[in-house]
């Protein structure tokens, strides 16, 4: 879990980057802290991203879109998919596969994870438009 110094630093970064009403840290003094962030795609669609912080920054935090997304074929994006960069869903939410174990370091900020999830959403909407899998656009980490 984040120490107070890191928590302050994360808040400072988000405060400098995003509107105050675009994010909210929740349950920070519990065993299950998380942050929710609003994400508006270039097309104007709004999603909520939830990043769970219980093991952050030591381990890769789980990141969800707080609803079940469907792919171009209408199937729920609820399971691990390399081509769509998703992991097994929880709570009925699509889970984004963002950073891999090889790329993760404790220095990666919540803001960077947010931007990565935001890029994932942009490519998700493009998938809905073109039918091409997301890994056509977002290559796999080596």
């Amino acid at each position: 879990m984040m120490d107070n110094e890191r928590y302050q630093a994360e808040q400072m970064v988000l405060r400098s980057k995003l509107p105050a009403n675009a994010y909210r840290f929740m349950n920070m003094n519990t065993a299950q802290p998380f942050v929710v962030l609003a994400a508006r795609t270039n097309a104007g669609n709004v999603y909520t991203i939830r990043i769970e912080l219980a093991e952050f920054p030591a381990n890769i935090p789980r990141a969800f879109v707080t609803r079940m997304l469907r792919n171009k074929a209408g199937e729920e994006m609820d399971s691990p998919s390399a081509s769509m960069h998703t992991l097994a869903s929880e709570n009925g939410w699509t889970r984004i596969c963002h950073y891999g174990a090889n790329a993760w370091t404790p220095y990666i900020s919540v803001y960077k994870i947010y931007v990565r999830c935001r890029l994932w959403l942009e490519m998700y909407e493009l998938h809905l438009q073109t039918g091409k899998p997301m890994d056509y656009y977002l290559k796999h980490a080596t």
Partner: protein, 57 residues
């Protein structure tokens, strides 16, 4: 004719392949991704490395 989004996607793809002449920036003020020529200045955070490094499986 390719939409703005499709152009963005194709540039992201090229960046992942290392063949793009553009870089990707996220402008937190507008909340939008923007493409711009490599090395140019502008507002927002350059995040091309995200596309170059790729996403986890």
């Amino acid at each position: 004719m390719a939409s703005v989004n499709e152009k963005l996607g194709e540039e992201v793809r090229k960046q992942g392949q290392g063949t793009a002449m553009t870089e990707l920036a996220f402008n937190p003020l507008t909340g939008e991704f923007e493409q711009r020529p490599q090395g140019s200045t502008g507002t927002g955070d350059v995040v091309t490395k995200m596309t170059e490094d790729g996403f986890a499986n």
